[in-house]
């Protein structure tokens, strides 16, 4: 389990490495360093590279720079670079880069957990990868409401695609439904969602005392 930090070293290393392996990295890396705010990482085994004898990492002076800018609240504007600069993003499969966004989960007891979620991954998968206790009875097939999450900021809620009829059908049955409720399996990480805060509904705890009448099945 990777620790929940805003930009961990592994990710930084990956950027560095990717640029380095491209040879003329500085052309791509420099503008990247100046404005980068989203972390890029290589999913497969970057730590090994730290000890790789062929890697002349020391000659790359950008690590510190990256760290500083990465420590700020990430904003996303850079994924365009990947599209434009083709050679940077497409080499061997192991070189594939993934953007990540920061997401905060607030659990039933009000405790916050900060995680990094790769673009394209659902909040349900992300929660499970990070040991967050979000249920997922139907494993994301839109047949249950157990991965119900509450988007804490309406501006973020508005950045999401509208729920489909099928998702709304399931939300009908979610416990503690709010105006900004969604199913975790249907919220997919995208750059605009960086900084997203999601709460797990807590009201579910006392459903019997609150006089909740479960809907018949």
């Amino acid at each position: 389990m990777s620790p929940p930090v805003s930009l961990d070293e592994r990710q930084l290393t990956s950027v560095t490495r990717a640029g380095y392996l491209q040879g003329s990295c500085s052309r791509y890396l420099h503008p990247l360093i100046l404005t980068i705010s989203v972390a890029f990482s290589i999913p497969a085994s970057p730590p090994m590279l730290l000890s790789s004898p062929t890697s002349s990492r020391a000659s790359i002076p950008t690590l510190e720079t990256l760290k500083i800018s990465g420590g700020k609240k990430p904003r996303v504007s850079q994924h365009v670079i990947f599209g434009k600069h083709h050679p940077f993003s497409t080499t061997a499969a192991e070189n594939e880069q993934k953007e990540k966004i920061s997401v905060t989960f607030i659990d039933k007891d009000g405790e916050e957990k900060h995680i990094k979620v790769p673009i394209g991954m659902s909040m349900l998968e992300a929660a499970h990868e990070n040991d967050i206790e979000l249920e997922g009875a139907c494993e994301g097939s839109l047949a249950c409401s157990t991965c119900h999450v509450i988007v804490m900021d309406v501006d973020y809620y508005n950045k999401l695609e509208d729920p489909t009829d099928e998702e709304n059908d399931m939300l009908d049955l979610a416990f503690g439904l709010t105006e900004t409720s969604r199913l975790g399996c249907q919220v997919i990480a995208k750059p605009e969602l960086d900084g997203l805060h999601l709460a797990l509904p807590a009201a579910t705890r006392n459903f019997a005392v609150d006089g909740y009448v479960p809907k018949p099945h």
Partner: protein, 484 residues
Amino acid sequence: MAVFQARKWYSRSFSSLSSHPLHICVVGSGPAGFYTAEKMLKAHQAAEIDIIDRLPTPFGLVRSGVAPDHPETKIVVNQFSRVALNERCSFFGNVSLGTSISLAELRDMYHVVVLAYGAESDRILGVPGEDLKGIHSAREFVWWYNGHPDYKNLALDLKSTETAVILGQGNVALDVARVLLRPKRELAITDIANHALVSLEESCIRKVYLVGRRGPVQAACTAKELREILGIKDLYIHIQEADLLKSPADEEELKNSRIQRRVYELLSKAVTSQPSQPRSGQRELHFVFFRRPDKFLHSDNISGNVTGVCYEKTILKENGGSGKQSAVGTGQFEDLECGLVLKSIGYKSVPVNGLPFDNHKGMVPNIRGRVLSDVPGEHTFEKGLYVAGWLKRGPTGIIATNLYCAEETVASISEDLEQGLLTPSFPKPGREGLGQLLDSRNVRFVPFSGWEKIDVKEKADGSLRNKPREKIVSWQELLKVANE
């Protein structure tokens, strides 16, 4: 904070207590049972949990209740299987509470017994003619098409009539209607029991009436199931337009319930998008509102088969200040001909010896899962005895409801442990004792590995027919495969 510390103290005291495990028996392996086991495993490191079930197969209504054309809903068994495979959890199939072992014996052997065996019987209407041939409960029909080993031989005649009446408009009613009306080639690729598929392929049922005492605003189904049945290919849908008129009380109900609003909208849309008449031979689904069955009709011949239902028309009256409206009769009656009636008016739990039971409500009197003693006038609890699921709160809700229900029961158990009301330090025989007792009675239980053999065989048989599984529907065969 106090709770937190107490919890910490417990996990610490239990972690050094591997020689004193907390023995827990969960009766029933449906969603309520498995969610309870899962939450107990997480909450108590010293907990050793045995789940017993009277069937050789686990998962309760996920296997025998969820409709065969809802495979996504059954995915939850993956999660339940992980629980069963936990080293502190064991499954004992083919062990029946009340027959193989008594409740008193279980309570002697375990520190905690959680009853989660659901509702295996039906509410009755209490109107004349309810015992006629051709009248079944929806539960029986559902268990039949889902291959429950007790209902493989249900005497169901789908060939002598083209009209079926389903009493009730909840999701079970919609499941049943959908299975009757859906193109059979679509059912053929599901895990529907083979005997049911054969029977449905030969079925003459073409017209289904879904009858409810109240109106479209109060329909008890959910939007997903309704959308699904309204979307069946080449099905004529009929809803009386006048039934959709809303009273101020209806408007108030809709305002307060998102789900009722969405169900009502779907029904309204269905009215406007339909041709006024069905084509000849087209299958038909009729939503009939504001009718309650008054009696069942039969012909004078000796067959004793139902030939129709006599309804009384109803209107809605507000129920005190609750905002809910209930149906009252108007004294106007009408008959509807049919040859098959399926009553989908609710399940009912069955008591066992030594269990406090509310016969009227069909459930166990309890507070947050703690079973209340029968002693009149006193609020005492049965030590170490708890309930979860339908036995605890009545037969309503979806699978996920059991998650919160189990969480509540487990919280009660944890509190009782913290307050010293249970005595985990007093050794109990638990699993070992259960095994010995079953042995002495020649009860051959089916462990989870036995179920896995059944599972493998069913999947293999299913793949030959392009089905996800071909269910084994006889007791004998189930036990044979499990013990191979």
